[in-house]
């Protein structure tokens, strides 16, 4: 029964994320994070999921939903077995795709001609800048002590973390280094400096 409720909650959560997730996978991150942390996992676990989602093939949104669905059941104190966690990831992924399917069908069927009307255009003049804010929020929410440590707790790790953040930012933004190479290098730096 509890498991059923958890599935229902997973479905509802990821359906809403699919419905309001403007701006693609990255735009969804703050939405996903505010829903799943700290209810189903820690910020550190969520960041690991995002890292793994970026390193593996496929859309980041799908990867994150699949992983979160698994972890939500796996982390549950009731200790459900693997098979229920797999079902959890099926439900989260399906729920994420479902609104797209419904909306796209409606749009493909009749609304394509309305997409260029002034009314829809003015809705998007508000939405577009807001999505930028959502992405900024995703970054800010992840800037915490679980991901960076703190100067009091571990000054060395904090400094290394900030340095890796700046290096990755400049590397991908200015020098256009491939993000996956950047993750691999940061992981190597972690192994050398933070072991």
């Amino acid at each position: 029964m509890d498991l059923f409720l958890l599935y229902l909650e997973l479905f509802g959560t990821f359906f809403l994320i699919g419905l309001f997730g403007f701006g693609g996978g990255y735009g969804m991150l703050s939405l996903i994070q505010t829903k799943v942390v700290p209810l189903w996992m820690t910020t550190a676990q969520f960041t690991d999921i995002v890292a793994i989602s970026q390193m593996t093939p496929g859309p980041v949104g799908i990867n994150t939903a699949t992983y979160c669905g698994y972890m939500a059941v796996h982390n549950n104190p009731a200790g459900y077995s693997e098979i229920w966690a797999i079902l959890g990831s099926c439900i989260a992924t399906f729920a994420l795709v479902l609104p797209s399917l419904i909306l796209m069908l409606i749009i493909a069927k009749m609304f394509i001609k309305y997409m260029k009307t002034p009314m829809v255009q003015s809705v998007f003049t508000g939405l577009r800048p807001a999505v930028v804010g959502l992405l900024a929020a995703a970054t800010l929410l992840l800037c915490n002590k679980e991901n960076f440590s703190t100067p009091d707790e571990d000054l060395w790790q904090f400094c290394i973390s900030v340095a890796l953040f700046i290096a990755t930012f400049i590397g991908t933004k200015v020098y256009k280094v491939n993000p996956i190479h950047m993750i691999a290098m940061a992981g190597f730096a972690g192994l050398l400096l933070l072991y």
Partner: protein, 178 residues
């Protein structure tokens, strides 16, 4: 035909690293240049619409193309095809990763990766700001939205709703677009 659609889109799902936007060139190559399912112009329109819609970008494009070719069964097949490879790969990683999570070597690697991932999310924020034409007159919208979510814990859903309604009201009452 459904099998063909499934095969093409699962191939796109397997071979794209780095998320939805990285998929566009591959989808274009397969769907426009090789299979001639949609024309170049139609494809550009589809991208514009799929970008404005909520949901996973690559899934949205797949659904549009599937629907255009084979109606609802086509849309389901293409969505399934795009999602399935990622789903299976992530599931396998999820099942094994938590066994290594506490391993000191893996833990050290991820202590290095986490700050890098935060930076990788910060970069598209600035790229998106440019394409969304953020200027001095509208930069308060993303700043206010981000602060409300970050400091006050407001759900991003309310920010989206408020921005949509605000944009509509602005266009209707303050500065009607002709």
């Amino acid at each position: 035909m459904n099998y063909e659609l499934f095969k093409t889109f699962s191939k796109i799902g397997i071979f794209t690293l780095g998320g939805g936007y990285a998929m566009i060139p591959l989808i274009e190559e397969e769907v426009v240049n090789k299979k001639h399912w949609v024309s170049k112009e139609e494809f550009l329109d589809l991208i514009a619409i799929a970008q404005s819609c909520p949901g996973v970008f690559a899934i949205n494009i797949s659904i549009f193309i599937g629907y255009k070719l084979r109606k609802i069964p086509g849309a389901i097949v293409t969505a399934f095809g795009t999602a399935l490879p990622s789903f299976l790969i992530i599931l396998m990683i999820a099942m094994f990763f938590h066994r290594f999570e506490d391993n000191p070597v893996v833990a050290a690697i991820f202590r290095g990766i986490r700050p890098a991932v935060v930076a990788l999310i910060a970069v598209p924020t600035f790229n998106l700001a440019r394409s969304a034409k953020i200027s001095w007159t509208n930069c308060w919208i993303p700043i206010a939205g981000a602060l409300l979510i970050w400091l006050l814990g407001v759900s991003p859903i309310y920010i989206i709703l408020a921005a949509g309604v605000g944009g509509w009201a602005y266009g209707k009452y303050i500065k009607p677009t002709e």
